[in-house]
């Protein structure tokens, strides 16, 4: 795949900034890499990736680290605030300046503050990739999720997608909703009222001609879905403990909850899971989440390669 003007030097701060053909370009790039394994190895030799994780992360950090290393990049930075200058109170602004001085070719940033990635992109000429900021967005996870759907169905158009769990504070859900809004899909948000999708997300979806449905229980829609995207409801997000106990069972995905589902249904989950997704799904045809997780590495390789203009 050749370097693309759509990606060269660009920032990745929100899934809402990407258009359909750009997502498709990425998906085809990952498909190609999976067919021609090793074809991008060493493509960015000599470049430096600064992985600045102001919030701890294992999975996303590792996948970016391995992706960069397979591309031949040198990797610097930190996987969490502990032990870094962040605990001494260094700002995002100053940290970026410092790593710019060290010659970083790309920043991969995770931060607890919402909008941190956009701010970083504004103050730095070096491309910034968000690895999640606050509870708003996680754009590269949405790209991974989109690829998992594409891989399962060979298309995204025409699918009925249910997104379940903590949609209000779950950063992967909003990014995926933005990404899906570029396609002809039917979206249903399944969550208790307190955790329903944020208004700005539904607002943008409507502007793009996608009117999401809202449901409070999986049971009422399970039979119609092609894709079920599961996220965890965190106890601390629901102020009333009795309300949490009441609702949590309604959002647990197990064989019983999927009794009326289509045999072709695919269940996705950004992982890690706790008890919202039963292990009894693992060995069924519904389970797409391990395929989804495995897509994280090639997708991030393709993305880095497109942004930094590596070898085709």
């Amino acid at each position: 795949m050749s370097p693309s003007a759509d990606f060269l030097g660009r920032d990745v701060v929100s899934a809402r900034d990407f258009k359909r053909d750009q997502f498709e370009q990425l998906l085809h790039g990952v498909e190609d890499l999976e067919k021609r394994k090793g074809s991008l190895d060493g493509a960015l030799k000599g470049k430096l990736a600064a992985l600045l994780f102001f919030e701890p992360s294992t999975r996303t950090y590792s996948s970016f680290q391995i992706a960069a290393e397979k591309l031949g990049m040198r990797v610097s930075g930190f996987a969490g605030p502990t032990g870094s200058s962040i605990t001494k109170g260094e700002t995002l602004h100053d940290t970026l300046r410092m790593f710019e001085g060290y010659g970083a070719d790309v920043f991969v940033i995770r931060h607890s503050k919402m909008g941190a990635a956009r701010f970083a992109a504004e103050i730095s000429d070096t491309p910034v990739i968000s690895a999640g900021d606050g509870s708003r967005e996680h754009p590269t996870q949405a790209m991974v999720d989109l690829y998992a759907i594409h891989k399962a169905f060979g298309r995204i158009d025409g699918l009925k997608v249910g997104m379940l769990g903590d949609l209000r504070y779950g950063r992967t859900s909003s990014s995926l909703a933005y990404a899906l809004s570029n396609f002809d899909v039917d979206i249903t948000f399944i969550a208790p009222d307190a955790l329903q999708m944020r208004p700005e997300v539904t607002q943008l979806l409507k502007q793009r001609g996608v009117t999401p449905k809202k449901e409070s229980a999986l049971k009422s829609v399970a039979g119609s879905l092609d894709v079920l995207y599961v996220t965890r409801i965190q106890k601390e997000r629901i102020p009333d403990p009795t309300e949490y106990e009441r609702v949590k069972g309604m959002y647990e995905v197990n064989l019983e909850a999927l009794r009326d589902s289509k045999p072709s249904l695919k269940v996705l989950h950004p992982l890690p899971r706790v008890d919202e997704l039963s292990t009894e799904i693992d060995e069924t045809n519904y389970a797409q989440y391990f395929v989804q997780a495995a897509g994280g590495l090639p997708l991030r390789m393709v993305l880095l390669n497109l942004i930094l203009g590596g070898a085709s």
């Binding site: 700002t91 607890s112 956009r118 701010f119």
Partner: protein, 161 residues
């Protein structure tokens, strides 16, 4: 031509700003948006007359704010018009009146804080100013950084002091 009740209460000003056609009993919100408390902190030589519930030919009742020896910033007047779309602003220089028609701006920077406490623009030590884009049809502001929405009517609660 001022209404009778207004003429009874306050004399003409030679230099300053008159904000007219404020909905009745809402003048305090105007003070808040214009951050008039800072005038007191600055110990500025400014007098403010707030007229409430005066009669108006076209509005029935309205409020008026007259500020002697202070020109309200046009950008602040524009923010006022998010909340009160019908207000009129008159600047007075040496007794001559010139009208300013406030307009809903496309972007607002530095004057309103984001309603999302965890937004990067609410982080004290980062060199970042809050910035909003306006969604005029929906009467909403959207944070440039975190996308949070703020209704025009809620703007006075979030004016930066």
């Amino acid at each position: 031509m001022p209404d009778e009740s207004e003429r009874m209460l306050v004399s003409r000003i030679e230099e300053g700003t008159v904000i007219d056609h404020i909905p009745d009993w809402r003048a305090n919100t105007v003070s808040r948006v214009l951050r008039m408390d800072k005038l007191a902190r600055m110990q500025a030589d400014v007098s403010v007359a707030i007229l409430q519930n005066v009669t108006s030919k076209s509005f029935g009742r309205k409020d008026i704010v007259k500020i002697d020896k202070w020109h309200v910033d046009e950008k602040d007047a524009d923010i006022l018009c998010l909340v009160f779309p019908n207000i009129t602003v008159n600047y007075i220089d040496e007794g001559k009146v010139s009208k300013y028609e406030p307009k809903v701006p496309d972007t607002i920077e530095g004057r309103i804080r984001c309603p999302e406490l965890n937004c990067i623009s609410n982080t004290e030590r980062e060199p970042v100013l809050p910035r909003f884009n306006t969604l005029k049809k929906e009467r909403l502001l959207q944070c440039h950084y975190c996308d949070a929405l703020l209704a025009f009517d809620s703007v006075p609660e979030y004016v930066r002091t």
